[in-house]
Symmetry: C2
């Protein structure tokens, strides 16, 4: 049992050349092969009645953990297509109890059959969440195993070793955690509430849904960066500890910094603009931004990931809008084309309509939006900002009229934008600023910035803002006209997938009431 | 002068289809073409004596700003190869004063000739740092202009507009800021000290050296992520505001968090390990890490960018070492193959030997390093950690013996590593841990982690560490064996380029004494 001990301790005492096969690679092509697989036990059961009544076995919500249903397998159903299968089951049965396992690796799982006895103890297969190494023969199955991602094969386990043992009781059951809320309500089955999920995030992140969400999110970042790099943007790293609250003193976290105080950056705004003043021309950054806002809503976090863009333009800030919307379109296309598995996985638990977008991206002016809203009965002033409900209503109206889930709202009233926003040269009540929306919720706010030190001073005075000398000084030595915007990563992921809470798309979310784990 | 006004205000009043040509694209192929270029005035001078005595004109350190040497151009030298050139100069001369400009765009610059008079005022061309739009004819030159990156052509300006005007006096001169320290000393010319640079970082970042450093750094991040993505790693985003100081209470910044206190993460250590426990298998992250260390050295920052890796392995942590070293090798190769312009640009100011590495990467054991050091006269104990001078000496010894600037030091004494480090199964005095070095300085620290909750508890007790229940709990529900490491981005850039201060590779560095800009 030397190998078994080695695996159980896993302290790298020696190397082996044995290769492990990925669960997602277990296809009919591998049938007949003997393979080694490392995976987590997803479910384990030894009861056969269910097998006869329900051919969909495995992670179908019907399974019970072996610990509760530890009985001898008496199944006599036929499996496999090669005739040797039934024989082997009988052979196994003679050796001891038999167990059906579902083995899981990230988003993928496969059914496996093991004889509990001399080669695998009850303890080994009893607990879901144990990580095991199995040596097994891949067998084709006659009827698709609909509850597993690998539907055409199952594993006949010959040897099994425990790599890491889990405590008997998980704080939440993965099958409960991926159950659609509606199924839970209709069928009276357990679902898992959000606080329990987040309190036990390590377990919750193991669900197929979480695995899919965060792999897709990783894709959003990659597509964002790759698209911008191709467009000639340079990635920058901006400091998060800053000496002054750049965007006004409110909603900023204070840090004790040696013998003085500092703040956490509410955005990389000042620094990305400084990079433009420093001739970097087109820059982006991906990093945390911090908002000390006591907002307990479905879409606010105190720490989130900002995808930020700033770009010098030639003649018109619409060049920047076009760069950003094209980047978003490349993200949407990349997700659609390369993350279908993830999208479908999330849809199983959280059904939503596929995300729709136009090329080129629809750009509406604020005035047009006000007109649309008024035609739907909303009463609002010309220069009044959009409320969150009105944004959502507008999203529905735009979807009806233009059939798109993504659009730009341009030319906001100057009064509702920050002091550094460039006024509209044709109408001083408006500004060269824009928001972008996905499924009726804001994901980006941006504008052409005032790049003239004198005008910036005037605008700041007008807003009663002081103590921004350092910021204004950046523009004294020549600054090109520029515009940009900041995108909330978690919101993009949430809204692309049609989810309803930004905490689902933040691995370890931070809000006024949550600092752990 | 409508266009001129439009450009000067730059508030996007209207769009034009006029395209701008990049300075780096001004090659002999474009000779004879009339082009529009937007660039900064790098230098401007109207004096001709220097032209006669020094054919290397432009950014060669000999130039004086127009503001100080504003005299009529009386040059009669021949330029161009097409015969029309001299004629045009004469024509221009009749119209008014003539000025030689060097126009700069990031790392690239080109010489340009403009007649100051009815089409361009003295004010327009006087100040270095003004951003201008010029309409100009590209002309081949007979003798290479060695002081410019575009050596084979110059621009004959027909129209010039100021896009953004700079204040007359820059806080530092760019030519001074790119002068090698040795030249400054030998020739008694000005160089710029580090505090002046950092106090005026926006100007300092405009130098060709800074432009090259941060473009190369952007490449390090891209190569890091692309290599790991190809290897199947998933990018994660970990929280920076945390509830407990995960790696001991020292050196941690405190944040006021609503009615309670929180900390800034000293590394993503805990969170990336939690992702491994959550079945993400292989993860990386790029983000700020915070160290409240009162270290005022050339290589310490209070905020830097961590390139972090964590990976479940199959049988031996050397699998992880190999993944990391291969990633580093891919970065080195990518930089060598795709960033030669940047490397050469930095070398002009800061000469260094090309960075050498081996394939596969050299891996030495700690014991071997101690033997090497002892053979060089160093006295040290078997289980004593390496001091910084000894690390540097070791780097030189390794370079002499193996001809590599990059290597791994494996199997550190257990006593000098954190409690979560896996002991060496063959010798409990040592551990499955490693550092990686570039040019004799540490850039990565890593190890196999203890993944067993019980052993982790024992090791924590042994180190007298408490209050880490949340951390240990992550391992109770099955954790695969895993290892990883954290790389300091600024150090990688610094050491790859052979620079000597990490502040040169941090855009807006933070140390105990610097919080601005």
């Amino acid at each position: 049992m030397d190998l078994q001990e080695c695996l159980q301790k896993n302290e790298s005492s020696r190397r082996t050349d044995r290769s492990l096969v990925r669960v997602c690679d277990l296809t009919p092509d591998t049938a007949g092969q003997t393979v080694w697989v490392r995976a987590r036990i997803h479910t384990s059961r030894a009861k056969d009645e269910e097998v006869r009544t329900d051919r969909r076995r495995g992670a179908d919500g019907q399974t019970k953990r072996c610990g509760r249903t530890d009985e001898e397998v008496r199944t006599d159903r036929r499996r496999g297509a090669d005739g040797t299968d039934d024989e082997e089951v009988r052979t196994d049965r003679r050796r001891g109890k038999q167990c059906f396992l579902v083995l899981r690796q990230q988003q993928f799982n496969v059914q496996a059959l093991v004889a509990v006895g001399e080669r695998a103890s009850k303890q080994m297969v009893k607990f879901a969440a144990n990580i095991v190494d199995v040596e097994a023969v891949v067998q084709k199955v006659e009827q698709k195993i609909e509850s597993c991602t690998q539907q055409d094969v199952e594993l006949h386990i010959q040897r099994l070793f425990v790599v890491s043992q889990a405590e008997p009781r998980l704080p939440l059951q993965l099958d409960d955690a991926v159950r659609p809320d509606t199924d839970g309500e209709e069928e009276g089955r357990a679902t898992v509430n959000q606080d329990t999920r987040l309190d036990n995030r390590v377990i919750d992140l193991r669900t197929t849904t979480s695995q899919a969400i965060f792999r897709l999110q990783s894709g959003v970042c990659q597509l964002f960066r790759d698209t911008l790099t191709k467009k000639g943007f340079v990635e920058i790293q901006t400091p998060k500890i800053i000496s002054a609250a750049s965007e006004g003193g409110a909603n900023v976290f204070t840090v004790s910094y040696f013998k003085t105080s500092a703040y956490l950056a509410q955005s990389p705004q000042l620094y990305k603009q400084m990079c433009i003043c420093a001739d970097f021309d087109k820059v982006f950054c991906v990093g945390p931004v911090f908002r000390a806002e006591d907002s307990n809503t479905h879409r606010h976090l105190t720490e989130f990931v900002g995808l930020d863009i700033e770009m010098a333009f030639n003649y018109h800030y619409h060049e920047v809008i076009e760069s950003i919307t094209d980047t978003m379109v490349q993200i949407f296309k990349g997700l659609r084309d390369n993350f279908q598995t993830e999208i479908q996985t999330v849809c199983k638990q959280y059904p939503s309509e596929p995300f729709k977008f136009l090329e080129p991206t629809l750009r509406l002016e604020f005035k047009e939006a006000v007109a649309l809203l008024r035609s739907a009965g909303v009463e609002m002033g010309d220069e009044e900002d959009l409320s969150t409900p009105n944004e959502k209503l507008l999203g529905r109206l735009v979807k009806e009229k233009y059939d798109t889930d993504f659009y730009v709202l341009d030319k906001y009233p100057l009064a509702v934008r920050p002091f550094y926003t460039m006024p509209d040269p044709h109408d001083p009540k408006y500004s060269n600023s824009y928001d972008m929306f996905m499924r009726g919720e804001e994901i980006l706010s941006g504008a052409q910035r005032v790049h003239d030190a004198q005008l910036l001073t005037e605008r700041a005075l007008h807003h009663g803002i002081e103590k921004i000398k350092a910021y204004i000084d950046s523009f004294r030595y020549g600054a090109p006209p520029h515009a940009g915007g900041g995108i909330g990563l978690e919101r993009v992921t949430m809204l692309y997938l049609g989810l309803h809470n930004v905490r689902q798309t933040s691995m370890f979310p931070r809000d006024p009431k949550r600092l752990t784990p």
